[in-house]
């Protein structure tokens, strides 16, 4: 037994641990900074621990990252909000290091702390940090500063606000593209805190500069800010300032820029109002839907439902729907797949008649797509269409599609369709399910791939939940139990797994009468893997079963297994026995 015969100095413990060669130990001690702080008490944390951390930041990035994270939630340990500012210096240093992850985390923590600080503390302590970082010699400091303005600005006095806006303007024209990119990507957040009058003038001119930057990468981030800025402006200002920019970008020669536009065009529609949307944004969007570059079409197709929700149904039918038809037979499978993942959502937007007349043929053709992802995406959103036109119109095409996916040669595709079976079951109803899909669900239990068998077992549980134990007693349990005689032990194992999944749903009585005997029987299996799985399953059944049953049936079986020649079987049997005892004791 080790002895601790000298007094403990919490800081000394930390210093000692941080000197250790083993990075894992250093990490652990940083992760327990709060313990040290609590042991020290608030005042000594402020006066000793925090200054110590400020000076000791030449460790490995992983340790620094942990430190940056811990400090973000450290306010309670330094004595509450009024002392929060003592946490700024170490985080300021961490915001200047070279490793991006550490810097980002430090900025995140600074924001978290700044958001809680009192207004005058922000002025006295936080804003000076922002200003120092913004004028930092190395670009890392300036990059970090860009993410802090939105916290600093609201609490600043008027002259300070002017100064902060000016500094941000300078960051947007920084010599280093890294800084300009950071400024561009944080512009939306910062702008959200700025008064309308300045927004229209200063921020818009900053934005204009960024959109004309000679580095593609900077322009690209400026586009990302378009929608955010647009929402902040009054509609007429948005039309005057943002609309021309975005329309221009939608025809940019760089596909990345067009891709960005395609991704967020719908957000601007709300900001500019219906008329400019119809006149400018719809044509721009249609162009993007027909872009030469598949990547752009993928982005545009993925937003088609969101876009239509904003438009009137007539506009959607007149302008967007023809493009959707084209896209449903696009040469790129990824475009079709993106379309299929959202197109079902158009049904509620267009209403029943238009859906039956216009969308249904597209659904059906996508359900027959040669690429399984496309079909899966349609099936996954079935509920959205069901609400509008009912499932009957689709069910005829649905079944072959499901069967084909269920037998797809890629196991991931099979896995995906299994995941949707409970959804399908709830939409299609018991009758359809019994006739057509029940057999498939059983077939998956004997799939070649483990993940599929596991998912199949889990699927049975979800079906039992959906349709109730009585239905399961008729349609699942007998078929499952029959398979316990499969000659291959892996398949027998799946059945054991299915039993452990099903038992909680079926309740004590059925478990005891139907399921338990099968499990007990399997304890005589010749394969050790089955035997120790029996032990595991029995352990999982104990909470469900009556005490008397546990005593009479489960325990004797486990005791027998605990004397098995196989070491693993003995191990799991003993585990299960221990668990039994614990449960018995607690009840």
């Amino acid at each position: 037994m080790a002895t601790v015969d000298e007094p403990l100095y919490p800081i000394a413990v930390l210093i000692d641990e941080l000197k250790n060669e083993d990075i894992q130990l250093r990490l652990n001690s940083i992760r327990r900074l709060s313990t040290i702080a609590r042991a020290l008490g608030e005042e000594r944390t402020r006066k000793e621990l925090i200054p110590f951390l400020s000076e000791n930041n030449d460790d490995e990035d992983e340790v620094l990252l942990a430190m940056a994270e811990e400090l973000g939630v450290f306010i309670p340990y330094v004595g509450g909000v009024e002392h929060a500012h003592v946490l700024l210096p170490p985080l300021e240093t961490l915001s200047t290091v070279e490793e991006t992850c550490v810097r980002d985390k430090a900025v995140e923590s600074l924001c978290r702390i700044g958001a809680q600080m009192k207004e005058n503390d922000i002025v006295d302590f936080f804003i000076p940090v922002v200003k120092r970082l913004a004028s930092g010699e190395w670009f890392t400091a300036r990059v970090s500063s860009c993410g802090l303005f939105h916290i600093a600005y609201p609490s600043a006095t008027d002259p300070l606000k002017t100064e902060l806006r000016t500094i941000y303007g300078q960051l947007c024209q920084d010599d280093m593209p890294m800084v300009r990119r950071a400024a561009a990507s944080n512009l939306g957040k910062f702008a959200a805190t700025i008064e309308q009058s300045h927004l229209k003038t200063e921020i818009m001119s900053i934005f204009d500069d960024l959109t004309q930057d000679d580095q593609d990468s900077v322009r690209l981030l400026a586009v990302e800010g378009c929608a955010a800025l647009g929402k902040l402006l009054e509609p007429q200002d948005c039309v005057a300032h943002i609309l021309p920019v975005i329309v221009n970008f939608s025809q940019d020669k760089s596909w990345r820029v067009r891709y960005m536009v395609a991704n967020q065009l719908y957000e601007l529609c709300e900001a500019v109002g219906p008329e400019p949307t119809r006149a400018d944004l719809v044509p721009a969007y249609v162009r993007l839907l027909r872009d030469n570059e598949a990547e752009v079409r993928i982005a545009a197709a993925g937003k088609v439902t969101k876009f239509c929700r904003i438009l009137s149904p007539q506009l959607a039918i007149q302008h967007i729907l023809p493009c959707v038809k084209e896209l449903s037979s696009d040469s790129s499978q990824h475009v079709r797949s993106a379309l299929a993942s959202v197109i079902m959502g158009m049904a509620p937007v267009l209403g029943k008649d238009a859906t039956i007349e216009q969308l249904l043929p597209i659904f059906l053709s996508l359900l027959k797509d040669e690429f399984p992802d496309v079909r899966l995406n349609i099936i996954s959103k079935l509920d959205q269409v069901n609400q509008v036109i009912g499932i009957d119109l689709l069910s005829q095409s649905l079944l072959p599609a499901i069967v084909e996916l269920a037998e797809d040669r890629h196991w991931r595709v099979r896995l995906a369709i299994i995941e949707y079976i409970p959804l399908l079951a709830s939409q299609l109803g018991v009758g359809f399910f019994d006739d057509k899909l029940g057999a498939l669900c059983m077939q998956w239990l004997e799939d070649k791939v483990y993940s599929i068998r596991e998912a199949a077992a889990n699927n049975l549980k979800r079906l039992a939940e959906e349709f109730g134990p009585e239905w399961a007693m008729q349609h699942i349990i007998p078929q499952v139990l029959e398979k316990i005689n499969n000659p291959h032990y892996l398949y027998r194992m799946t059945i054991l797994q299915a039993i452990s999944f099903l038992a909680p749903v079926m309740g004590a009585e059925i478990t005891c009468q139907k399921l338990l005997p099968v499990v007990i029987n399997s304890s005589k299996d010749r394969v050790p893997n089955i035997k120790f799985n029996v032990a595991k399953v029995l352990q999982s059944l104990v909470p469900i079963l009556d005490q008397s049953v546990v005593e009479k049936t489960v325990k004797p079986c486990l005791v027998e297994l605990s004397e098995d020649p196989d070491v693993d079987v003995r191990y799991y049997a003993n585990q299960a026995l221990q668990a039994c005892d614990q449960i018995m004791m607690s009840s």
Partner: protein, 489 residues
């Protein structure tokens, strides 16, 4: 590669290009800059305007002929699809005109006029500066994944190749006056050339490498800008997006740029080493450019041996934790750097260095362990180690001992024993002392772990006494006295 295709080109170049062989296609009225923008490119088959004669007319000056040829070359063709006109005569002609320009610049004796220079640079911009297509997504089939690492070959290389050839001639040619050309080959032109280095096509990157090298040599005024722009590319690659195709080429150019730096090194250049080159060890794709990077770094150390300490500490900072392939590369570079390291620098960083080496010795990846052990085979490194064995042996002895007992790989085991023997021969007493210490520590290990656990438990219990304040200020009474009274004895 470059020389190869120059040879091919000059062999093929038609002799009588300027000799009035009939019509050359001139560009249609549409402004050339609009080509390549979103969508339609000029389809030569659809609109064939009458072809004016480029050369041969009486009274035309050399400049007129040259400019007309350059204008012809400003027309872009769409190579991306197998549409009609794949082998259109216009396309073939453009290539021939380009080649005639190559000859023209190569053979010229009088300097090019400003108009010619300006037109040429404009033509380069139109042909070269383009947006690269997105990476092809892997399809559903497994076939696409297998091809992932295959280089991409730009279909328009048929023209690009000659444009690059012309650009190279242009930059190298004595008839292009730097003072004139500098107005057009400006920072923005160079910056866009640098952007092209991200091309997927290795042939293009190879050409760019040569061109950039020549530009750096010829346009002295742009050198600071080029260095800054390259640093920016590297910063972005390291700290933002982790993808760039042309780092190896950039470093290759910089290898010779660095070897041209004057001694003593300027602060700016050292900053480039510390802030750009050393961090380049971090990205996971370091294998793509490590030889070039190592070359650059050794060039620096060659110029200023004191920098080796900085480099070694940098390597330790970015030392890979889980990637054994990368670890072996680092060991390789480390050896090269150590070769150039002098004793005082070595002594400054040997402690952390050999802690790391000790880790490598114990690697369960036998190649890593082996590579680390081979450091002892290097004469210079061996010399450095043996003269500091008092410090180094205690650090690595535990690693040697652990290998000797547990390492699964026979060859690692053997080499470990050799290294141990070397130390034994060096200083028997010290080795035995280390051995004793190791055994003692081993016995104490469980104890010290237990002790650590107790200390923390202790702290934890003590911490629980102290209330954490939300708003109420709760100050702890104890100020100077030890916080925790010992309870365990």
């Amino acid at each position: 590669m470059w020389k190869g295709f120059i040879g091919k080109l000059s062999g093929k170049a038609p002799k009588s290009v300027g000799g009035g062989g009939g019509g050359w296609g001139s560009p249609p009225s549409k402004s050339p800059t609009s080509y390549g923008a979103n969508g339609g490119q000029w389809d030569p088959m659809r609109s064939s305007p009458p072809l004016p004669v480029v050369a041969g007319a009486e009274g035309d000056t050399r400049e007129d002929v040259f400019l007309r040829k350059v204008t012809v070359c400003c027309v872009l063709f769409d190579f991306s699809t197998d549409r009609v006109g794949r082998d259109s005569p216009e396309r073939e002609r453009k290539r021939q005109v380009l080649m005639s320009l190559v000859d023209c610049v190569g053979a010229a004796e009088e300097p090019l006029t400003e108009a010619m220079v300006s037109a040429c640079v404009g033509m380069f911009a139109i042909n070269l500066f383009r947006v690269f297509p997105p990476k092809v997504r892997p399809g559903a089939g497994g076939a696409a994944e297998a091809d992932e690492d295959d280089p991409f070959f730009d279909p328009s290389w048929y023209h690009l190749q000659v444009v690059y050839e012309l650009l190279l001639r242009f930059v190298m040619s004595p008839v292009v006056d730097v003072k004139v050309a500098r107005k057009y080959v400006d920072n923005s032109f160079i910056s866009r050339l640098l952007d092209l280095l991200d091309s997927d096509d290795p042939r293009e990157r190879d050409c760019l490498k040569t061109v950039l090298h020549r530009i750096y040599g010829k346009f002295m005024g742009n050198r600071p800008f080029i260095r800054k722009a390259v640093s920016n590319i590297i910063y972005r690659f390291v700290s933002e997006d982790d993808h760039h195709n042309g780092i190896a080429e950039l470093l290759e150019v910089f290898g010779s740029v660095i070897s041209g730096f004057a001694k003593p090194l300027k602060e700016e250049h050292k900053l480039f080493l510390c802030k750009a080159l050393i961090p380049l060890h971090k990205p996971k794709a370091v294998g793509m450019y490590l030889p070039q990077l190592t070359y650059c770094i050794t060039q620096f150390i060659d110029k200023e041996p004191k920098l080796s300490g900085t480099v070694i500490r940098g390597l330790l900072k970015y030392w890979p934790v889980t990637n054994s392939q990368k670890e072996m590369m680092f060991l390789g570079e480390l050896e090269e750097v150590l070769e150039l390291t002098e004793m005082p620098e070595f002594q400054k960083c040997m402690v952390p260095l050999f802690r790391r080496v000790a880790h490598c010795l114990n690697s369960s990846h036998f190649q890593v362990a082996e590579r680390a052990l081979y450091l002892w085979n290097n004469e210079h490194v061996f010399n450095l180690i043996s003269r500091n064995h008092q410090v180094i042996l205690p650090i690595i002895y535990p690693a040697l001992e652990r290998n000797a007992r547990l390492h699964w790989n026979q060859s690692v085991l053997n080499v470990t024993m050799n290294v141990r023997k070397m130390f034994f021969d060096m200083d028997q007493k010290l080795l035995l002392a280390c051995q004793k210490k190791f055994q003692e520590e081993e016995e104490k290990q469980a104890e010290s772990e237990e002790r650590r656990r107790l200390i923390w438990e202790h702290l934890e219990r003590n911490a629980a006494f102290h209330q954490v304040t939300g708003d109420i200020s709760f100050s702890v009474v104890t100020k100077s006295a030890p916080l925790v009274a010992p309870t365990m004895t």
